[in-house]
């Protein structure tokens, strides 16, 4: 596709339910990132994929959060037993690893509301 695509764009879920967020990066981009943005806050790094592997999982806030990537393409971020503090916009970005370039292209995000 032309850009990074995220789905769903909005998700309302009940506390305690599991949710799965999807990211389709730009074709050919080997690096993929997940960030969380709480209302009025900055971007909180969650996890980063190089190809299908995740060398840095340090940003995942708890063991309720997990992510995977397959085929160096689609990634899913799963939040189990959602809590109200998980409410935020979850942003995905991808970048082409080539030389020194690390420009990241962001999707529009998934707005998650836990009620």
């Amino acid at each position: 596709g032309a850009g990074v695509s995220q789905s769903p764009s909005n998700k309302v879920t009940e506390k305690g339910k599991d949710v799965e967020l999807r990211c389709d990066p730009i074709s050919g981009h080997t690096a993929l990132y997940w960030y969380r943005q709480r209302l009025g806050q900055g971007l909180e790094f969650l996890i980063y994929f190089q190809g299908n592997s995740a060398p840095d999982k340090s940003g995942l806030p708890s063991d309720r959060f997990s992510a995977e990537r397959t085929g160096e393409s689609v990634s899913t971020l799963t939040i189990q037993r959602t809590q109200q503090e998980d409410s935020a916009v979850y942003l995905c970005a991808s970048s082409l690893v080539w030389g020194q370039s690390t420009e990241a292209f962001f999707g529009q995000g998934t707005r998650l509301t836990v009620v």
Binding site: V4, A31, Y33, Y35, G40, Q41, G42, L43, F45, Y48, Q50, D56, L91, A93, S95, V97, Q100, T102, E103, A104, F105, F106, G107, Q108, G109
Partner: protein, 112 residues
């Protein structure tokens, strides 16, 4: 631990004025310093970026000033326009990790 510290948190500028946003970092391995612009309901988009081999980079009304010894860099928006009203994020990365560390953002409002 905040890898990149950004200030101010919010900024109000009159149309035609200069907007200045500052960032500081500690990790001397950082070698790529981009600025991202985010409009409400949208993801951040790259605005301008600089590498530490130059002290300034200008693109239209947007200029990055980089001070390697002080480990600081700033974004200057000349002739600020109401359409520049957005949240601006500075970021830093080093090639080995290929990860971006973002500042906390500055909400800019340009008053007509």
């Amino acid at each position: 631990q905040q890898q990149v510290k950004q200030s101010p948190q919010s900024l109000i500028v009159q149309k035609g004025g200069i907007s200045i946003i500052n960032c500081a970092y500690e990790n001397t391995a950082f070698d790529y310093f981009p600025w991202y612009q985010q409009f409400p309901g949208k993801g951040p988009a790259l605005l301008i970026a600089i590498r530490p081999d130059v002290s300034e980079k200008k693109e239209g009304r947007f200029t990055i000033s980089f001070n390697k010894s002080a480990k600081q860099f700033s974004l200057h928006i000349m002739d600020s326009q109401p359409g520049d009203s957005a949240t601006y994020f500075c970021a830093a990365a080093h090639g080995g990790a290929n990860n971006l560390f973002f500042g906390t953002g500055t909400r800019l409002t340009v008053i007509p």
